[in-house]
Symmetry: C2
Subunit: 286 residues, 2 copies
């Protein structure tokens, strides 16, 4: 069998390329193209509209960093909402926290859930947990019907404008607007916080800067922290937290739970260091 | 003119690919193949044996992080040695520190210096500074003749086994051996420290782990810190410092010099955060 290589462009002029063993699935949903690849370096890979959503090998650096900082920073994160996240990786990490009593996942694209249940059963397994309810719905409309309900909301979405589609908006674009930020604010209980995946600062700094500016118009405290994710553009990813009360720089884990020993990426000692950006990023966010 | 793309494999199964506008130089020295590309995304790029040494756009994340942590951590870094670093970027950053009185650069390959002076004049300009002396020599032999002379030694070399050559050693391999670490120790003045570029932990963790273990056999304190460099493998790079006395976690900049405002990447607030690794790296270094 001849070697086959996948290419994802990160801008028009640079990209990552990786060897593919087999294309396990290819389908077109109402919202996007859904593909699953198998690769020698990263195991299985989920693509949406041709962009890598995660690979089995480096997804912990994404899911652990999206979940554990806000969950340890909130004093009592009982009710959690995930917008997007149909692969189940975010649920998997949330279920490690004993304080969590209910998890609602609102995913717009049922095909993502079905495909991940089939090809990534270890990521998706948490969907069957009794604490979890899954709704196939638009996150935007869902929030209108849920006010003051959640302690933490994690926006685990695709990019607003996928690099692969070059300036054509993706299904997640409405989630990166001041109108949506206002709905998140209303859906939180007092003392709550929300965390977004917020792009890589090197190639997509303008998106991060706009988001940061607009979130500051809605929330009292907006903070950005970083993770190394080798298969993402620039190998460098940002997460943005927004809250009226929670300050991630005060993240302390008083009684470290046993699951921390088994994580691949996150450790509490990373904070506040993970909040300190390179200078060029500080300038973007000033 | 048809589009041309350069590919650097980071392992046999994954790589970065970027658009090339023009190949400005190609030559074969006694030690390695030397090339200069011009690219729309990153400006000019130096390749040695087909591997990206630096690009104009993201080199500050490398040179600033190699130089400023040890220079601020050492109480009086007057005499500095660079092993490698023929492009001049490390000299450029060192000259920003007023405490530095002499800089010696020992580069094995004269072609690297000549090519960088021609194609990267902004990086190389510092070579003409009266504080700087440049020697074309093998770092290994040079150290034998210089004992107890330097406050700081920066090992700004190529990789021991370039990924592009697949298990064939490069000219820098002798610099990653206990014998060389011993010579560094001897060449330092009391209170001195040395910092190495030490590979990316995601794909080349075994090299970092071996280096860390062997350095601990020679120096009292060995520490690893990290930087995001988008064009390097995994976008993630490690630096290893070794000293009998200097502790990078105590890095403080009491009177911040004005040049800090103009840096692209480093800021003192990064430390001690930059020293905290993801868990999988801690396990490598345990």
């Amino acid at each position: 069998m001849p070697e086959s290589w996948f290419l994802e462009k990160h801008t028009r002029h640079v990209g990552i390329t990786l060897e593919v063993r087999e294309r396990l699935f290819e389908g077109q949903s109402e919202f996007q193209k859904v593909e699953v690849l198998d690769s020698p370096e990263f195991g299985r890979i989920l693509l949406l509209d041709g962009a890598i959503m995660f690979t089995e090998r480096d997804e912990p650096a994404y899911h652990e960093m999206l979940v554990h900082p806000p969950l340890f920073a909130h004093p009592r994160p009982e009710r959690v909402l995930i917008v997007g996240g149909g692969d189940g990786g975010t649920i998997r990490e949330l279920l490690k926290h004993e304080a969590v009593r209910s998890i609602t996942l609102v995913e717009i694209d049922k095909m993502v859930i079905d495909v991940c249940r089939r090809f990534f059963p270890a990521l998706s397994a948490g969907m069957d947990d009794p604490k979890v309810s899954v709704e196939i719905a638009d996150g935007f409309a869902f929030l209108d019907a849920h006010r003051g309900e959640f302690d933490t909301i994690l926006v685990d979405s695709t990019d607003p404008i996928p690099l692969t589609t070059e300036n054509v908006s993706g299904p997640a674009e409405p989630l990166f607007t001041p109108e949506f930020y206002g709905k998140l604010h209303t859906a939180l209980r007092p003392g709550g916080l929300t965390v977004f995946q917020s792009e890589n600062p090197f190639y997509s700094g303008a998106i991060l800067a706009k988001m940061h500016r607009e979130l500051r118009g809605v929330f009292g405290k907006v903070q950005v922290y970083f993770s190394n994710i080798p298969t993402y553009p620039g190998g460098y990813w940002s997460f943005t937290s927004a809250s009226d009360t929670v300050d991630l720089s005060r993240l302390r884990v008083e009684r470290p739970p046993a699951f921390l020993d088994d994580l691949e990426y996150f450790q509490p000692a990373m904070f506040p260091g993970a909040l300190v950006a390179p200078r060029y990023v500080d300038r973007l966010l000033a």
